[in-house]
């Protein structure tokens, strides 16, 4: 009987850790620990303009912030460039991602665009990075 209760206790602890402690750890890590440690990370998902283009047409960051841009091509090959800030991911094949870091050291609105002719409406694949004071 004692052994049985001992086993139940261990099993209960493992279930608790899985169902409650695991989600709590994930959220604490993501929303408390990481922002303090890592650069501000933004994921930009590119689909051809006919299917919506970039998932965000405007990204706002704070001046001086270190920004990690994860560019993911959802369908065909895309690429992302912010010429004014000297950022260029190069071609990002469909289904893969490239990460670039930007230091937003000056205020202003900086256009970003797709660098690969990805569809007939490729020209519409544009957006703006807004650096606020």
């Amino acid at each position: 009987m004692t052994r049985s209760w001992h086993l139940e206790g261990v099993a209960g602890l493992l279930v608790f850790l899985t169902v409650f402690a695991l989600p709590a750890t994930i959220f604490v890590y993501q929303f408390r620990y990481r922002p303090a440690q890592a650069p501000h990370e933004i994921t930009l998902v590119g689909s051809i303009a006919e299917r919506g283009g970039w998932n965000a047409q405007e990204i706002t960051v704070k001046k001086g912030q270190r920004v990690r841009l994860v560019v993911f091509s959802h369908d065909v090959t895309h690429g992302l460039a912010i010429p004014a800030l000297g950022v260029d991911t190069g071609p990002v094949p469909g289904g893969s991602s490239r990460t670039v870091e930007v230091i937003a050291d000056r205020e202003g609105r900086f256009r970003f665009r797709c660098t690969v002719i990805c569809s007939p409406e490729h020209g519409d694949m544009e957006g703006e990075l807004v650096v606020e004071p």
């Binding site: 099993a11 279930v15 169902v19 993501q30 994860v70 990460t99």
Partner: protein, 481 residues
């Protein structure tokens, strides 16, 4: 003994073609541990917790989200390519979806308890069949284009299933959810008939004389005095000592192995497809499960692999009227067209066999089991077509399950790499041809059972071959065309 004579002996005494896996002492020791099922469930509970969290809170892009990649590519591949064909319903023994409900119902994680918790009601008699599973699966399959691409839908769906399982366990006895409601369990049961493993009684005489029936009722102090390590009666309402003759409703949880005071229930290896020769237990609800599964494999191949963009966008719920049309086509194929073609075949078979006294319904139901091998192989061929091109997403999703920019194992930037796309037809064609040949073999045996004692069994094989060839040609056309 030569292969031919083994086959001949196996035909007369099927038990001789079986091998008792519990002769291996380490396996016997393991199967008799009460913690075994818990140890199988826990890692899957961990993965499903991450899946639900990623689905609900992670990036909405399916290809970057752990929930989509691990459920619809990794889990599905493991299930349909390995677990079901080789391990029957072994997934059910380790499935985390009903686990919380079962633990609450039992009031224990591992140890056996005599008295359960919850209302312990009996499942309604009118629903003791697969119809709810069938319509549940068909309804879910209808929304699969959404379900398999949008993380929040996948996360919500799995969480919803867990909630339904918990409620069902607290209201009804045993694992009524798994037996009568689970949309996955229904098709696992159907296709587990092909698997080369089974849990069965050893000696019929021992079961006949047994007064404890612990495999169905659960261990009692009296049965434990005789033997057994203690456990619950079959969670899925089976009575292994009765005997249980098919894998369809066996969850492979091994409770019966643990409870039997005489060690008269065992885990055996056996020939593939063995259950398809068992006449007892064939029913209309299972027959419809076979139509629904085969129809789904065909419809998925049309929608996801076919060149028709319009049906893809209809399935993606781009507009309500188009989706309603798609629903009519999809459900019509699964529930009307497939069964109608099968009915036509049943009429033809009866006519060819000149067996007017054999009811068409009997032919209709019995021959539906011919569709099990071809249906499973159709699913396997279909699964290869998206697993090989997309499994590489799992490498990056493992490092960044939520699409939040994590890099846990340094693989988050692993590019999408379709593996061996040129090999696909070389895999799919043999798989489909094996399905065709095995279905024909099963069909021949069923013909001898349905038209027993008749000399005109062989002519039935002509329409049967035409029927199965048409199905195979349809799959081949979709994959190669």
């Amino acid at each position: 003994m030569s292969a031919v004579s083994v086959k001949a002996v196996a035909r007369v005494r099927p038990e001789l073609a079986r091998f008792d896996l519990l002769r291996f002492r380490p396996l016997r020791w393991l199967v008799r541990r009460r913690w075994l099922q818990f140890a199988l469930i826990l890692p899957n509970l961990f993965i499903f917790t991450v899946v639900i969290l990623a689905g609900l809170f992670g990036i909405p892009v399916g290809a970057k989200n752990f929930s989509i990649i691990f459920v619809w590519i990794v889990w599905w591949a493991a299930l349909i390519l390995l677990l079901v064909p080789f391990g029957a319903r072994s997934w059910c023994a380790m499935c985390p979806i009903p686990a919380a409900g079962e633990w609450l119902q039992r009031g224990a994680f591992v140890a056996p308890r005599r008295k359960g918790r919850g209302l312990q009601r009996r499942w309604p008699k009118s629903l003791r069949n697969l119809w709810v599973c069938n319509f549940g699966f068909a309804s879910i399959a209808l929304f699969s284009a959404i379900l398999t691409t949008r993380p929040i839908v996948t996360g919500g769906f799995l969480l919803g299933l867990m909630v339904v399982a918990i409620v069902t366990h607290l209201v009804y006895e045993r694992r009524a959810f798994c037996r009568y409601l689970c949309p996955v369990g229904g098709f696992l049961g159907l296709y587990s008939m092909v698997a080369p493993v089974e849990i069965r009684r050893v000696d019929a005489e021992v079961c006949r004389k047994c007064s404890y029936k612990a495999c169905f009722r659960g261990s009692t102090p009296q049965s434990l005095q005789v033997g057994g390590v203690g456990g619950y009666g079959c969670p899925n309402f089976e009575f292994p000592g009765a005997p249980m003759e098919r894998n369809t409703y066996c969850l492979l949880c091994t409770e019966c192995v643990k409870t039997c005071p005489y060690e008269n229930i065992t885990l055996r290896a056996r020939p593939f497809m063995a259950d398809l020769a068992v006449e007892k237990g064939r029913k209309l609800d299972e027959a419809f499960k076979a139509f629904i599964m085969l129809g789904s494999a065909i419809m998925y191949s049309v929608v996801m692999l076919g060149p028709w963009g319009w049906i893809k966008s209809w399935a993606n719920l781009t507009s309500a009227p188009h989706f309603l049309l798609y629903a009519a086509i999809f459900l019509g194929t699964l529930l009307v067209a497939g069964p109608a073609v099968h009915l036509l075949f049943s009429w033809t078979a009866r006519g060819v066999a000149r067996a007017k006294e054999v009811p068409v319904k009997k032919i209709f139901v019995e021959y539906a089991y011919v569709l099990v091998p071809i249906g499973l192989m159709g699913w396997i061929a279909f699964s290869f077509s998206f697993v090989l091109p997309n499994i590489s997403y799992a490498v990056s999703a493992l490092s960044d399950p939520f699409g939040w920019g994590w890099n846990l194992f340094g693989t988050s930037d692993y590019p999408w790499t379709p593996y061996y796309p040129a090999l696909l037809p070389y895999i799919q064609v043999p798989v489909l041809l094996v399905g065709l040949l095995v279905s024909l073999r099963v069909g021949e045996r069923i013909s001898r059972q349905v038209f027993a004692g008749r000399t005109r069994v062989r002519p039935v094989l002509v329409p049967l071959a035409a029927y199965l060839l048409a199905i195979t040609a349809l799959f081949l056309g979709l994959y190669l065309g």
